[in-house]
Amino acid sequence: MSKTTLNKNSVFFFAFIIFIISATIYLAANVNKLKDADSDILSLLPEDTNQAIYQKIKILSNESVNETIILISNKTPDDCISAGLAFQKSISRCIEFKNIRTLNANEKLNESKSLYEPFHNLLMPQTTKFLLEAKGLNSAIQQTESKLQSPLSVYYQNYLQNDPLLNIPLFIQSAFPIKKNQIIHDDYLLLKEDEEYFFVLQCTLNQSPFNQNIQLNVLSALNNAENEIKKQYHNTRIIKSGVLFFAARGNQIAQKEISTLGISSIVGVLLLLLMVFRSIKPLTLGLLSICCGIISALFVSSLFFDRLHLVTLTFGTSLIGVSIDYAVHFFSDHKINSKNWSASNCLNRILPGISWGAFTTILAFLALALNPLPGLHQIAIFSASGIIGAYLAVLLLFPKLYKPHTIQIKVNESYFYTYSSKFFRFLHSLKFLLVLFLAIIVYSLININIQDDIKNLYSPPEDLKNNEQMVHKIFDQTDPSRLLVITGSSIEDVLQKEENFCLTLQKLKLDQHLNSYYALSTFLPSIKMQKSNYNLLLMKINDSESKLTEEEKNIWFAYDNKQPYRSIQPINYLTPEIFFNSQFGNTFKKFIHERNGQYFSVVLPIGLKNETAIQNAVANKKEIIYINNRERISDSLKLMREKITISTIVIYILITILLLFKHGLKKSLAIVLIPLISALLALSVLVLAKQNIHIGHFLALIIVLGTGIDYTIFLAESQKINKSTWVAITVSALTTILSFGLLALCQTEFLRAFGQMVLLGVGFSYLLCPLFYSIASDKFEFTFTENE
């Protein structure tokens, strides 16, 4: 080797060392950023094409992700309230909570009264409006008398002076109907279910629930409070719901999996190396290439992304099995050419093979970045940069660090070597099975069952799901994944459209297609509606006031108020500014949003039974959209899957074309066909096992190509097959199968499916790669003799 080449190699060696050390220092300095990995599974999904709608849903869901509902139950209302208040006091010490609210009936009532009372001549419940329109002022007054005669008259008497028609109390009652399971005890609103009383705490976090520190602090505070309360109050149950618990559990599972999979992968790979090469140096250098791969992956990804996702890090553990491949080929070459072996000659021999292998694998991973799933962009960059790091470690570090005169590779005739040559012959003899495999593939593709449900990406833990369902049942919360969005040019425009549409919703309610609905206009009528109410009132007063009977006048002119409901002009309406700035109206801000001059309001159906009815109701209305978020995500996933299928086909064609220049048509087709058949065979096995096929499986098709093609490339590059080449391929396959096989044990559905596909695909690629020679009709030499 010339002096220039030697100097160049030294420069690259040190440059790479400096890069690795710098990257390590950077990662050490930003270790908190790495610890704060994102665990929100939905952040892996793409943004909606309808940006405005998506933003609105995102804001609504962002506000709800910080909310936590805690139900404290007991057998008696008194114990329930005492336990609830004690729990509240205990968790209020936790600084991660921005606020903790109880359901105090009187407080809410007083807040609403103080907001609405000044507008008693502008706000009116539907019943009063109906009475005025259909029957006149005297019928409306009769309604008041009926209320005053009832056992609940005490609630109405104070309104008589200014509001003899009881507009405000009846308006509040109609806006907040008391549900059957609600009871008021000592001013607190409790929920009752199956002879158990529930005290409600609504807690808002001051930061994202996906922040790991927040999760730790809040869960610790909640657990301590729960233990305290249960000691004091027997029969107390605490039921918690909110995104925080799902995020924390997801985090726990992912971190456990990362460490389990990571350690298992490394241990498995190193044991395999030890078994095959029977020496420490390959072990240590193998570990070095893995570390270089992981450091490169973490470093480059940190530069591109603010936060890495736990799914990326979990997936990254599979990189271990892939990145060791280049080191394996390096050590195996030493075995083939142990006499007068040198690193530079070694690299000359294996470089085309490992370079093509690395190139196709990187290309396959980068192809993942072509589709719009943000999560896959991370996985693509992470994996590609990891493979480059491992490849460069072999290329730049190994020649300097792997000194043949200090090592005796004792690769004797172990059982592994004896068996692997017999195995190769056996596999090569199975070429007749190709036809059978093709038949299986065709049959499976015809019977494939594709499911694009979001459940396939993520299935929440049963206990958390049960808690969520219980809270939903008892608290009767709306389902934020199903909503209606109304657009308009102003808040007034949106409120008017909402009021109009609420007439349709009322009809759907009467037809029992839904239980109820939550609409902003119920609490903040439009100015047009307020004007209409006032005009109706004045008209009826002018028509009928002089014709009232003595009994009716007795109520109408209570407290000698000679002119009830007349307003001084100009009238002060209940405006959105007044409403949203009030303590009561403040909580409704999340239901209206403005973007680029357009306004959106959200109407939430409660207890929706017939989705088709709602879809039909909005069918001809451009300004009202019904969104089923879950279906929307599933539709997105379907689109992604279709795009991924096309990308996969394109990648396969591209790689074939690139290989054409080196290997000609027959060989190129043979190189690509083996991983293609293997991938489809893997899919067929899962179809025959009656698995639901989803986007995770389709994504794995690209990876099977990228990793499985390495074996056929090496066979194509080798002039003769000998034990050590075949052992290198076998070890590569085993390490990859080990890594992805472990991924198939993940609890995260998406990763599990991905791991299953790659495990099977790479497995089949290995088993079928001897058939490369049959497809390529290439003559080859078996040289499985000793001392080769």
Partner: protein, 225 residues
């Protein structure tokens, strides 16, 4: 003309009127008496027995409500029914038709247009307490009364009076100053005095204890939804 006789007549009239107010306000005498305790509880139990022996009673009623701010009282008339283990209802016929049904769990109201509204008593503490109180009196359940109220009792010849003052500030009772029940063989009058100075008086007359079975119509009243 001499004016002093006019003033004398006016003064006498005033005195007479004051006497009438005082004699109508016999309730005050009741509440000056000793509160029921363990020694005098038998009197309460004797009255309670009158009620507990009555499984079903039908009467006419007149309700008079004096509400602050209204110049005239609100008066309604109609039919009343109490049935053990079911509840009670007021079927108002004048000045307009209305049905009010009280069961241990619900207040059901049906207005003259036929619109029915159901309110669970758990959701309204004031309602819950009224329901509990009324049904306890009508059922003769003295223990419940003693728990929630300071109870005053007087029996004289064939007449009796029970007075109730809410104990402490239990939810729903904060509006009530006191309640008085009076009667002889049957309950004749209920007076409710509220904190704002409002009062409700319900008078029962034409008591009938037969037939013992509820008619179909009466059954339907309790089953309104």
């Amino acid at each position: 003309m001499k004016v002093w006789p006019i003033y004398l007549i006016l003064a006498i009239l005033s005195l007479l009127l004051a006497q009438k107010v005082n004699s109508d306000d016999t309730n005050n005498d009741l509440f000056k008496k000793k509160q029921i305790d363990d020694n005098t509880i038998q009197e309460l139990k004797d009255i309670a027995k009158i009620f507990s022996d009555t499984t079903l009673v039908r009467t006419k009623f007149i309700q008079t409500k004096l509400i602050k701010g209204l110049k005239k009282p609100l008066v309604s008339e109609g039919n009343f029914l109490f049935a053990q283990n079911k509840g009670l209802f007021f079927e108002t016929l004048k000045p307009f038709e209305q049905l009010t049904v009280l069961t241990p769990k619900n207040l059901i109201q049906k207005d003259s247009a036929g619109i029915v509204s159901v309110i669970t008593s758990d959701a309204h503490p004031a309602l819950k307490n009224s329901v509990t109180t009324f049904l306890s009196v009508f059922s003769g359940e003295s223990e419940i009364l003693l728990k929630q109220f300071q109870v005053y009792c007087e029996i004289s010849q064939n007449n009796w009076q029970i007075g109730l003052i809410p104990k402490g500030k239990s939810s729903g009772n904060e509006f009530i100053v006191r309640i008085t029940f009076s009667g002889d063989k049957f309950l004749k009058t209920i007076n409710i005095d509220e904190k704002e100075g409002n009062t409700t008086t319900i008078q029962f007359m034409d008591h009938q204890t037969t037939p013992l079975e509820l008619s179909k119509n009466e059954q339907n009243y309790f089953e309104q939804k």
